[in-house]
Protein backbone atom coordinates (compact mmCIF):
# COMPACT_ATOMS: atom_id res chain seq x y z
CA UNK A 1 0.00 0.00 0.00
CA UNK A 2 1.73 3.10 -1.12
CA UNK A 3 0.80 6.59 -0.08
CA UNK A 4 -0.53 7.48 -3.54
CA UNK A 5 -3.03 4.63 -3.41
CA UNK A 6 -4.44 5.82 -0.09
CA UNK A 7 -4.39 9.44 -1.20
CA UNK A 8 -6.20 8.54 -4.42
CA UNK A 9 -8.86 6.61 -2.54
CA UNK A 10 -9.31 9.47 -0.10
CA UNK A 11 -9.79 11.95 -2.91
CA UNK A 12 -12.27 9.60 -4.54
CA UNK A 13 -14.21 9.18 -1.30
CA UNK A 14 -14.43 12.92 -0.81
CA UNK A 15 -15.52 13.45 -4.42
CA UNK A 16 -18.16 10.73 -4.29
CA UNK A 17 -19.42 11.98 -0.96
CA UNK A 18 -19.67 15.51 -2.30
CA UNK A 19 -21.36 14.34 -5.49
CA UNK A 20 -23.94 12.25 -3.70
CA UNK A 21 -24.74 15.08 -1.30
CA UNK A 22 -24.93 17.56 -4.15
CA UNK A 23 -27.17 15.28 -6.17
CA UNK A 24 -29.41 14.77 -3.16
CA UNK A 25 -29.51 18.52 -2.60
CA UNK A 26 -30.50 19.21 -6.15
CA UNK A 27 -32.97 16.33 -6.05
CA UNK A 28 -34.99 18.37 -3.59
CA UNK A 29 -34.99 21.24 -6.06
CA UNK A 30 -35.66 18.83 -8.91
CA UNK A 31 -38.55 17.29 -7.03
CA UNK A 32 -40.26 20.63 -6.59
CA UNK A 33 -39.51 21.77 -10.11
CA UNK A 34 -40.64 18.48 -11.65
CA UNK A 35 -43.75 18.39 -9.49
CA UNK A 36 -44.54 21.86 -10.77
CA UNK A 37 -44.02 20.84 -14.38
CA UNK A 38 -46.24 17.79 -13.99
CA UNK A 39 -48.96 20.03 -12.60
CA UNK A 40 -48.64 22.63 -15.37
CA UNK A 41 -46.84 25.03 -13.03
CA UNK A 42 -43.32 26.42 -13.12
CA UNK A 43 -42.11 25.38 -9.68
CA UNK A 44 -39.62 27.44 -7.65
CA UNK A 45 -38.00 30.04 -9.89
CA UNK A 46 -37.22 33.01 -7.62
CA UNK A 47 -33.91 32.17 -5.94
CA UNK A 48 -31.31 32.77 -8.61
CA UNK A 49 -31.81 32.07 -12.31
CA UNK A 50 -34.51 29.39 -12.72
CA UNK A 51 -34.44 29.05 -8.94
CA UNK A 52 -31.22 27.06 -8.85
CA UNK A 53 -30.26 28.55 -5.48
CA UNK A 54 -33.45 27.18 -3.93
CA UNK A 55 -31.70 24.21 -2.18
CA UNK A 56 -29.36 26.67 -0.43
CA UNK A 57 -32.34 28.71 0.72
CA UNK A 58 -34.11 25.57 1.94
CA UNK A 59 -30.99 24.36 3.73
CA UNK A 60 -30.46 27.75 5.35
CA UNK A 61 -34.04 27.79 6.50
CA UNK A 62 -33.75 24.33 8.04
CA UNK A 63 -30.51 25.23 9.83
CA UNK A 64 -31.91 28.36 11.40
CA UNK A 65 -35.26 26.98 12.44
CA UNK A 66 -35.95 26.48 16.12
CA UNK A 67 -34.82 23.14 17.43
CA UNK A 68 -37.67 21.52 19.34
CA UNK A 69 -36.85 18.60 21.63
CA UNK A 70 -39.94 16.95 23.12
CA UNK A 71 -39.77 16.82 26.93
CA UNK A 72 -40.58 13.13 27.22
CA UNK A 73 -38.46 12.05 24.30
CA UNK A 74 -35.50 9.76 24.78
CA UNK A 75 -32.81 12.36 24.06
CA UNK A 76 -29.89 10.18 23.02
CA UNK A 77 -31.96 8.07 20.67
CA UNK A 78 -33.91 11.07 19.42
CA UNK A 79 -30.65 12.52 18.14
CA UNK A 80 -29.28 9.14 17.03
CA UNK A 81 -32.26 8.50 14.74
CA UNK A 82 -31.59 11.04 11.99
CA UNK A 83 -27.83 10.55 12.31
CA UNK A 84 -28.19 6.82 11.68
CA UNK A 85 -30.45 7.51 8.72
CA UNK A 86 -27.83 9.76 7.16
CA UNK A 87 -24.99 7.37 7.96
CA UNK A 88 -26.58 4.32 6.37
CA UNK A 89 -27.72 6.34 3.37
CA UNK A 90 -24.17 7.51 2.70
CA UNK A 91 -22.45 4.17 3.37
CA UNK A 92 -23.69 2.33 0.31
CA UNK A 93 -22.09 4.77 -2.14
CA UNK A 94 -18.73 3.18 -1.33
CA UNK A 95 -19.01 0.27 -3.73
CA UNK A 96 -20.54 1.86 -6.82
CA UNK A 97 -18.16 1.36 -9.75
CA UNK A 98 -17.97 4.69 -11.56
CA UNK A 99 -15.71 3.38 -14.29
CA UNK A 100 -12.86 0.94 -14.82
CA UNK A 101 -9.78 3.08 -14.20
CA UNK A 102 -8.26 6.33 -15.32
CA UNK A 103 -4.73 6.30 -16.68
CA UNK A 104 -3.05 9.38 -15.17
CA UNK A 105 0.68 9.60 -16.06
CA UNK A 106 0.99 5.85 -16.18
CA UNK A 107 -0.70 5.31 -12.81
CA UNK A 108 -3.91 3.34 -12.72
CA UNK A 109 -6.56 5.22 -10.82
CA UNK A 110 -9.48 2.89 -10.11
CA UNK A 111 -12.84 4.65 -10.06
CA UNK A 112 -14.36 2.63 -7.26
CA UNK A 113 -13.77 3.15 -3.56
CA UNK A 114 -13.86 -0.51 -2.59
CA UNK A 115 -14.29 -3.52 -4.83
CA UNK A 116 -15.42 -5.98 -2.18
CA UNK A 117 -16.16 -9.40 -3.58
CA UNK A 118 -19.45 -9.52 -1.70
CA UNK A 119 -20.57 -6.18 -3.10
CA UNK A 120 -24.22 -7.01 -3.56
CA UNK A 121 -24.52 -8.48 -0.08
CA UNK A 122 -22.88 -5.36 1.32
CA UNK A 123 -25.69 -3.30 -0.24
CA UNK A 124 -28.29 -5.50 1.37
CA UNK A 125 -26.52 -5.29 4.69
CA UNK A 126 -26.48 -1.50 4.61
CA UNK A 127 -30.04 -1.25 3.30
CA UNK A 128 -31.32 -3.53 6.04
CA UNK A 129 -29.70 -1.23 8.61
CA UNK A 130 -31.38 1.81 7.08
CA UNK A 131 -34.60 1.06 8.87
CA UNK A 132 -33.00 1.57 12.30
CA UNK A 133 -32.76 5.30 11.84
CA UNK A 134 -36.47 5.52 11.19
CA UNK A 135 -37.41 3.06 13.92
CA UNK A 136 -35.25 4.59 16.65
CA UNK A 137 -36.33 8.11 15.74
CA UNK A 138 -39.98 7.15 15.70
CA UNK A 139 -39.81 5.36 19.02
CA UNK A 140 -37.71 7.99 20.78
CA UNK A 141 -40.19 10.73 19.87
CA UNK A 142 -42.63 9.28 22.41
CA UNK A 143 -45.57 9.93 20.13
CA UNK A 144 -48.21 7.50 18.91
CA UNK A 145 -48.07 8.63 15.32
CA UNK A 146 -44.29 8.51 15.22
CA UNK A 147 -44.34 5.00 16.67
CA UNK A 148 -46.92 3.84 14.14
CA UNK A 149 -44.84 5.35 11.35
CA UNK A 150 -41.74 3.62 12.65
CA UNK A 151 -43.50 0.28 12.91
CA UNK A 152 -44.85 0.63 9.41
CA UNK A 153 -41.41 1.47 8.09
CA UNK A 154 -39.92 -1.57 9.78
CA UNK A 155 -42.44 -4.07 8.50
CA UNK A 156 -42.45 -2.55 5.04
CA UNK A 157 -38.67 -2.59 4.70
CA UNK A 158 -38.32 -6.15 5.92
CA UNK A 159 -41.07 -7.38 3.60
CA UNK A 160 -39.66 -5.74 0.51
CA UNK A 161 -36.05 -6.61 1.30
CA UNK A 162 -36.96 -10.26 0.80
CA UNK A 163 -38.42 -9.74 -2.66
CA UNK A 164 -35.51 -7.47 -3.57
CA UNK A 165 -32.98 -10.07 -2.51
CA UNK A 166 -34.75 -12.80 -4.43
CA UNK A 167 -34.94 -10.66 -7.57
CA UNK A 168 -31.21 -10.03 -7.40
CA UNK A 169 -30.38 -13.72 -6.93
CA UNK A 170 -31.41 -14.35 -10.54
CA UNK A 171 -28.99 -11.62 -11.56
CA UNK A 172 -26.19 -13.20 -9.55
CA UNK A 173 -26.86 -16.54 -11.23
CA UNK A 174 -26.50 -14.87 -14.59
CA UNK A 175 -23.25 -13.05 -13.74
CA UNK A 176 -21.67 -15.60 -11.46
CA UNK A 177 -20.34 -12.89 -9.17
CA UNK A 178 -21.39 -10.65 -6.32
CA UNK A 179 -18.86 -7.98 -7.15
CA UNK A 180 -20.33 -4.89 -8.77
CA UNK A 181 -17.17 -4.26 -10.76
CA UNK A 182 -17.46 -7.75 -12.23
CA UNK A 183 -21.15 -7.29 -13.02
CA UNK A 184 -20.40 -3.99 -14.75
CA UNK A 185 -17.58 -5.59 -16.73
CA UNK A 186 -19.84 -8.42 -17.92
CA UNK A 187 -22.31 -5.90 -19.25
CA UNK A 188 -19.63 -4.32 -21.41
CA UNK A 189 -19.65 -7.16 -23.88
CA UNK A 190 -21.34 -6.79 -27.23
CA UNK A 191 -24.94 -7.51 -28.01
CA UNK A 192 -26.66 -7.10 -31.40
CA UNK A 193 -23.21 -6.33 -32.78
CA UNK A 194 -22.83 -3.24 -30.57
CA UNK A 195 -20.18 -3.26 -27.90
CA UNK A 196 -21.16 -2.21 -24.40
CA UNK A 197 -24.82 -3.12 -24.78
CA UNK A 198 -24.88 -6.49 -23.04
CA UNK A 199 -27.11 -5.05 -20.35
CA UNK A 200 -28.82 -7.25 -17.81
CA UNK A 201 -32.19 -5.64 -18.46
CA UNK A 202 -32.40 -7.64 -21.70
CA UNK A 203 -32.08 -10.88 -19.73
CA UNK A 204 -33.89 -9.88 -16.55
CA UNK A 205 -36.89 -7.66 -17.37
CA UNK A 206 -39.05 -9.31 -14.71
CA UNK A 207 -36.27 -9.15 -12.16
CA UNK A 208 -35.79 -5.48 -12.88
CA UNK A 209 -39.50 -4.81 -12.45
CA UNK A 210 -39.47 -6.48 -9.05
CA UNK A 211 -36.27 -4.67 -8.11
CA UNK A 212 -37.60 -1.23 -9.00
CA UNK A 213 -40.87 -1.78 -7.12
CA UNK A 214 -38.89 -2.89 -4.07
CA UNK A 215 -36.54 0.07 -4.44
CA UNK A 216 -39.53 2.38 -4.27
CA UNK A 217 -40.67 0.65 -1.10
CA UNK A 218 -37.18 0.69 0.47
CA UNK A 219 -36.81 4.41 -0.14
CA UNK A 220 -40.25 5.06 1.38
CA UNK A 221 -41.24 6.83 -1.81
CA UNK A 222 -44.76 7.21 -3.14
CA UNK A 223 -46.70 4.98 -3.81
CA UNK A 224 -45.18 3.24 -0.77
CA UNK A 225 -44.62 6.21 1.55
CA UNK A 226 -46.88 4.87 4.26
CA UNK A 227 -44.39 5.50 7.12
CA UNK A 228 -44.91 9.23 6.56
CA UNK A 229 -48.49 9.04 5.40
CA UNK A 230 -49.72 12.47 6.43
CA UNK A 231 -53.43 11.74 5.97
CA UNK A 232 -53.23 9.02 8.61
CA UNK A 233 -50.16 9.67 10.74
CA UNK A 234 -49.66 13.46 10.78
CA UNK A 235 -46.03 13.27 9.67
CA UNK A 236 -45.25 9.64 10.40
CA UNK A 237 -41.94 8.92 12.07
CA UNK A 238 -40.70 12.51 11.79
CA UNK A 239 -43.77 14.15 13.35
CA UNK A 240 -41.79 15.44 16.33
CA UNK A 241 -38.71 16.47 14.41
CA UNK A 242 -37.83 20.01 13.48
CA UNK A 243 -34.91 22.01 12.18
CA UNK A 244 -31.95 20.17 10.66
CA UNK A 245 -32.85 16.85 12.27
CA UNK A 246 -35.94 16.82 10.09
CA UNK A 247 -33.68 17.99 7.30
CA UNK A 248 -31.46 14.94 7.82
CA UNK A 249 -34.41 12.60 7.50
CA UNK A 250 -35.58 14.25 4.30
CA UNK A 251 -32.05 14.40 2.99
CA UNK A 252 -31.44 10.73 3.75
CA UNK A 253 -34.48 9.90 1.64
CA UNK A 254 -32.99 11.72 -1.33
CA UNK A 255 -29.57 10.12 -0.86
CA UNK A 256 -31.28 6.74 -0.73
CA UNK A 257 -33.02 7.63 -3.96
CA UNK A 258 -29.70 8.54 -5.55
CA UNK A 259 -28.07 5.35 -4.33
CA UNK A 260 -30.88 3.07 -5.46
CA UNK A 261 -30.94 4.82 -8.85
CA UNK A 262 -27.21 4.18 -9.07
CA UNK A 263 -27.68 0.50 -8.25
CA UNK A 264 -30.46 0.13 -10.80
CA UNK A 265 -28.18 1.67 -13.39
CA UNK A 266 -25.21 -0.51 -12.39
CA UNK A 267 -27.07 -3.80 -11.98
CA UNK A 268 -29.51 -3.69 -14.87
CA UNK A 269 -28.61 -0.85 -17.22
CA UNK A 270 -24.98 -1.52 -17.90
CA UNK A 271 -23.39 0.79 -15.32
CA UNK A 272 -20.70 2.83 -17.03
CA UNK A 273 -21.12 0.98 -20.34
CA UNK A 274 -22.73 2.61 -23.33
CA UNK A 275 -23.27 1.42 -26.90
CA UNK A 276 -20.09 1.71 -28.90
CA UNK A 277 -17.67 1.88 -25.97
CA UNK A 278 -15.03 -0.14 -27.82
CA UNK A 279 -15.21 2.19 -30.81
CA UNK A 280 -14.65 5.23 -28.60
CA UNK A 281 -11.79 3.52 -26.78
CA UNK A 282 -10.09 2.58 -30.03
CA UNK A 283 -10.41 6.05 -31.53
CA UNK A 284 -10.28 8.54 -28.64
CA UNK A 285 -8.22 6.63 -26.09
CA UNK A 286 -8.96 4.91 -22.83
CA UNK A 287 -9.45 7.95 -20.61
CA UNK A 288 -12.01 9.54 -22.94
CA UNK A 289 -13.99 6.31 -23.04
CA UNK A 290 -13.99 6.12 -19.23
CA UNK A 291 -15.07 9.73 -18.83
CA UNK A 292 -17.90 9.33 -21.35
CA UNK A 293 -18.86 6.18 -19.45
CA UNK A 294 -19.00 8.20 -16.23
CA UNK A 295 -21.28 10.69 -17.95
CA UNK A 296 -23.43 7.83 -19.26
CA UNK A 297 -23.75 6.38 -15.77
CA UNK A 298 -24.75 9.78 -14.46
CA UNK A 299 -27.32 10.20 -17.20
CA UNK A 300 -28.81 6.84 -16.25
CA UNK A 301 -28.87 7.75 -12.56
CA UNK A 302 -30.53 11.09 -13.25
CA UNK A 303 -33.11 9.38 -15.43
CA UNK A 304 -33.98 7.00 -12.62
CA UNK A 305 -34.23 9.86 -10.12
CA UNK A 306 -36.56 11.54 -12.58
CA UNK A 307 -38.50 8.29 -12.84
CA UNK A 308 -38.87 8.17 -9.06
CA UNK A 309 -40.42 11.62 -9.16
CA UNK A 310 -42.47 10.87 -12.23
CA UNK A 311 -44.09 7.93 -10.45
CA UNK A 312 -44.55 9.98 -7.31
CA UNK A 313 -46.70 12.52 -9.11
CA UNK A 314 -48.67 9.88 -11.00
CA UNK A 315 -49.54 6.96 -8.77
CA UNK A 316 -51.57 7.45 -5.59
CA UNK A 317 -50.52 5.92 -2.28
CA UNK A 318 -51.27 2.28 -1.49
CA UNK A 319 -53.38 1.14 1.41
CA UNK A 320 -51.36 -0.73 4.02
CA UNK A 321 -52.95 -4.14 3.45
CA UNK A 322 -52.49 -3.72 -0.29
CA UNK A 323 -48.83 -2.96 0.30
CA UNK A 324 -48.32 -6.11 2.36
CA UNK A 325 -50.30 -8.20 -0.10
CA UNK A 326 -48.21 -6.94 -3.00
CA UNK A 327 -44.97 -7.63 -1.17
CA UNK A 328 -45.67 -11.07 0.24
CA UNK A 329 -48.21 -12.62 -2.08
CA UNK A 330 -47.20 -11.22 -5.45
CA UNK A 331 -43.61 -10.01 -5.56
CA UNK A 332 -41.98 -12.85 -3.60
CA UNK A 333 -43.60 -15.69 -5.60
CA UNK A 334 -42.89 -13.75 -8.77
CA UNK A 335 -39.24 -13.37 -7.78
CA UNK A 336 -38.96 -17.11 -7.06
CA UNK A 337 -40.56 -17.83 -10.41
CA UNK A 338 -38.01 -15.51 -11.99
CA UNK A 339 -35.19 -17.48 -10.36
CA UNK A 340 -36.59 -20.73 -11.80
CA UNK A 341 -36.98 -19.12 -15.22
CA UNK A 342 -33.40 -17.85 -15.13
CA UNK A 343 -32.13 -21.28 -14.10
CA UNK A 344 -33.95 -22.91 -17.01
CA UNK A 345 -32.63 -20.23 -19.35
CA UNK A 346 -29.03 -20.77 -18.23
CA UNK A 347 -29.44 -24.55 -18.64
CA UNK A 348 -30.83 -24.21 -22.15
CA UNK A 349 -28.54 -21.58 -23.60
CA UNK A 350 -25.22 -22.02 -21.87
CA UNK A 351 -24.84 -25.76 -22.33
Amino acid sequence: MDIYFILGKLILIVIIFAISLLTAMYSTYGERKIAGFFQDRLGPDRAGPWGILQPLADGGKLFFKEEILPVNANMALFIAGPSLSMLTACMSTAIIPWGTYLDIFGTKFVLQVADVNIGLLYIFGVVSLGVYGVMIGGWASNNKYSLLGAVRAASQNISYELAMGLSVIALIMLNGSLSLAEISRNQGESLFGLSGLNWNIFYQPLGFLIFIVCAFAECNRTPFDLPECETELVGGYHTEYSSMKLGFYLFAEYINMFVSSAFMAVLYFGGYNYPGINFVEANLGHNAAVIIGLAALFAKILFFIFFFMWVRWTVPRFRYDQLMKLGWQILIPLAIFNILLTGVGIMLFDN
Binding site: W139, L147, A154
Partner: protein, 167 residues
Protein backbone atom coordinates in the same frame (compact mmCIF):
# COMPACT_ATOMS: atom_id res chain seq x y z
CA UNK B 1 -2.43 -3.49 14.04
CA UNK B 2 -4.72 -6.53 13.70
CA UNK B 3 -4.11 -7.27 17.38
CA UNK B 4 -5.27 -3.85 18.44
CA UNK B 5 -8.40 -4.10 16.30
CA UNK B 6 -9.08 -7.51 17.78
CA UNK B 7 -8.80 -6.26 21.34
CA UNK B 8 -10.95 -3.24 20.58
CA UNK B 9 -13.68 -5.38 18.98
CA UNK B 10 -13.56 -7.90 21.82
CA UNK B 11 -13.83 -5.13 24.38
CA UNK B 12 -16.76 -3.65 22.46
CA UNK B 13 -18.51 -7.01 22.19
CA UNK B 14 -18.13 -7.80 25.89
CA UNK B 15 -19.12 -4.32 26.97
CA UNK B 16 -22.18 -4.37 24.72
CA UNK B 17 -23.07 -7.84 25.96
CA UNK B 18 -22.90 -6.68 29.57
CA UNK B 19 -24.95 -3.60 28.77
CA UNK B 20 -27.64 -5.81 27.22
CA UNK B 21 -28.08 -7.42 30.62
CA UNK B 22 -27.65 -4.35 32.82
CA UNK B 23 -29.69 -1.65 31.09
CA UNK B 24 -33.16 -1.09 32.48
CA UNK B 25 -34.73 -0.08 29.19
CA UNK B 26 -35.46 -3.07 26.92
CA UNK B 27 -35.11 -0.94 23.77
CA UNK B 28 -31.60 0.02 24.87
CA UNK B 29 -30.88 -3.66 25.49
CA UNK B 30 -31.81 -4.48 21.91
CA UNK B 31 -29.65 -1.66 20.58
CA UNK B 32 -26.66 -2.87 22.62
CA UNK B 33 -27.25 -6.35 21.28
CA UNK B 34 -27.06 -4.95 17.75
CA UNK B 35 -23.78 -3.29 18.70
CA UNK B 36 -22.51 -6.66 19.96
CA UNK B 37 -23.46 -8.24 16.64
CA UNK B 38 -21.49 -5.59 14.80
CA UNK B 39 -18.45 -6.30 16.94
CA UNK B 40 -18.76 -10.00 16.14
CA UNK B 41 -19.13 -9.22 12.44
CA UNK B 42 -15.91 -7.26 12.78
CA UNK B 43 -14.24 -10.40 14.13
CA UNK B 44 -15.42 -12.35 11.10
CA UNK B 45 -13.86 -9.76 8.84
CA UNK B 46 -10.58 -10.08 10.78
CA UNK B 47 -10.72 -13.79 9.96
CA UNK B 48 -11.24 -12.88 6.27
CA UNK B 49 -14.74 -14.37 6.35
CA UNK B 50 -16.48 -11.54 4.53
CA UNK B 51 -19.49 -13.56 3.52
CA UNK B 52 -20.18 -14.68 7.06
CA UNK B 53 -19.77 -11.13 8.35
CA UNK B 54 -22.22 -9.61 5.90
CA UNK B 55 -24.76 -12.40 6.27
CA UNK B 56 -24.45 -12.04 10.02
CA UNK B 57 -25.31 -8.35 9.74
CA UNK B 58 -28.12 -8.88 7.23
CA UNK B 59 -29.78 -11.71 9.11
CA UNK B 60 -29.22 -10.75 12.74
CA UNK B 61 -28.89 -6.97 12.79
CA UNK B 62 -30.99 -6.33 9.69
CA UNK B 63 -33.89 -8.69 10.17
CA UNK B 64 -34.13 -10.47 13.50
CA UNK B 65 -33.24 -7.50 15.70
CA UNK B 66 -35.63 -5.28 13.73
CA UNK B 67 -38.40 -7.70 14.60
CA UNK B 68 -37.26 -7.76 18.25
CA UNK B 69 -37.32 -3.99 18.33
CA UNK B 70 -40.67 -4.05 16.58
CA UNK B 71 -42.25 -6.17 19.28
CA UNK B 72 -40.58 -4.41 22.22
CA UNK B 73 -41.70 -1.00 20.97
CA UNK B 74 -45.28 -2.19 21.11
CA UNK B 75 -45.05 -3.67 24.60
CA UNK B 76 -44.33 -0.39 26.44
CA UNK B 77 -42.30 -2.17 29.09
CA UNK B 78 -41.41 -0.31 32.26
CA UNK B 79 -40.93 -0.90 35.95
CA UNK B 80 -44.62 -0.68 36.86
CA UNK B 81 -45.80 -3.24 34.37
CA UNK B 82 -43.03 -5.73 35.10
CA UNK B 83 -44.59 -8.89 36.51
CA UNK B 84 -43.36 -10.04 39.92
CA UNK B 85 -41.49 -13.28 39.42
CA UNK B 86 -40.98 -15.70 42.31
CA UNK B 87 -37.46 -15.95 43.77
CA UNK B 88 -37.43 -19.56 42.58
CA UNK B 89 -36.93 -18.38 38.97
CA UNK B 90 -33.90 -16.36 39.91
CA UNK B 91 -32.45 -19.38 41.66
CA UNK B 92 -32.87 -21.52 38.53
CA UNK B 93 -31.40 -18.78 36.40
CA UNK B 94 -28.28 -18.56 38.57
CA UNK B 95 -27.78 -22.33 38.46
CA UNK B 96 -28.23 -22.58 34.69
CA UNK B 97 -25.85 -19.73 33.90
CA UNK B 98 -23.36 -21.20 36.35
CA UNK B 99 -23.51 -24.51 34.48
CA UNK B 100 -23.04 -22.73 31.15
CA UNK B 101 -20.08 -20.79 32.52
CA UNK B 102 -18.42 -23.97 33.80
CA UNK B 103 -18.99 -25.56 30.40
CA UNK B 104 -17.34 -22.69 28.58
CA UNK B 105 -14.43 -22.45 30.98
CA UNK B 106 -13.87 -26.20 30.66
CA UNK B 107 -14.03 -26.04 26.89
CA UNK B 108 -11.59 -23.12 26.64
CA UNK B 109 -9.14 -24.75 29.04
CA UNK B 110 -8.87 -27.70 26.69
CA UNK B 111 -8.59 -25.44 23.63
CA UNK B 112 -5.40 -25.80 21.64
CA UNK B 113 -3.58 -22.45 21.68
CA UNK B 114 -2.46 -23.07 18.10
CA UNK B 115 -5.65 -21.40 16.89
CA UNK B 116 -4.64 -18.11 18.42
CA UNK B 117 -2.69 -17.20 15.29
CA UNK B 118 -4.76 -18.42 12.37
CA UNK B 119 -3.06 -18.42 9.00
CA UNK B 120 -4.64 -16.04 6.51
CA UNK B 121 -6.96 -18.29 4.55
CA UNK B 122 -9.45 -17.63 1.80
CA UNK B 123 -11.90 -20.19 3.09
CA UNK B 124 -14.31 -17.46 4.20
CA UNK B 125 -14.66 -15.97 0.73
CA UNK B 126 -17.95 -16.77 -0.89
CA UNK B 127 -16.59 -18.88 -3.75
CA UNK B 128 -14.55 -21.22 -1.53
CA UNK B 129 -17.35 -21.40 0.98
CA UNK B 130 -19.77 -22.46 -1.75
CA UNK B 131 -17.41 -25.13 -3.05
CA UNK B 132 -16.90 -26.56 0.43
CA UNK B 133 -20.59 -26.39 1.19
CA UNK B 134 -21.67 -28.20 -1.97
CA UNK B 135 -18.89 -30.80 -2.07
CA UNK B 136 -17.97 -31.91 1.43
CA UNK B 137 -21.06 -30.87 3.34
CA UNK B 138 -23.88 -31.41 0.85
CA UNK B 139 -25.90 -33.71 3.08
CA UNK B 140 -25.88 -31.51 6.20
CA UNK B 141 -26.64 -28.50 4.00
CA UNK B 142 -29.69 -30.18 2.49
CA UNK B 143 -30.86 -31.45 5.86
CA UNK B 144 -30.64 -27.94 7.28
CA UNK B 145 -32.67 -26.62 4.37
CA UNK B 146 -35.38 -29.20 5.05
CA UNK B 147 -35.33 -28.23 8.71
CA UNK B 148 -35.77 -24.58 7.79
CA UNK B 149 -38.60 -25.46 5.42
CA UNK B 150 -40.35 -27.39 8.16
CA UNK B 151 -39.92 -24.47 10.56
CA UNK B 152 -41.36 -22.11 7.94
CA UNK B 153 -44.40 -24.30 7.31
CA UNK B 154 -44.92 -24.62 11.05
CA UNK B 155 -44.79 -20.87 11.61
CA UNK B 156 -47.25 -20.26 8.77
CA UNK B 157 -49.60 -22.82 10.29
CA UNK B 158 -49.41 -21.10 13.67
CA UNK B 159 -49.92 -17.65 12.16
CA UNK B 160 -52.83 -18.72 10.00
CA UNK B 161 -56.30 -18.11 11.39
CA UNK B 162 -58.28 -21.18 12.26
CA UNK B 163 -61.34 -21.06 10.03
CA UNK B 164 -63.57 -22.88 12.51
CA UNK B 165 -62.74 -20.35 15.23
CA UNK B 166 -63.35 -17.36 12.97
CA UNK B 167 -66.82 -18.59 12.01
Amino acid sequence: MIDKVFYFLSFLAILAGLMVVFTKNPVHSVLYLILAFFAIAGHYILLNAQFLAVVHIIVYAGAIMVLFLFVIMFLNLNAETEPQKPIFYKFIGVILSGVLLTLFVGAFRKLDPIYSDLPQTDIGLIKNLGIVLFNEFTLPFEIISILLLAAMVGSILIAKKDKAVVE
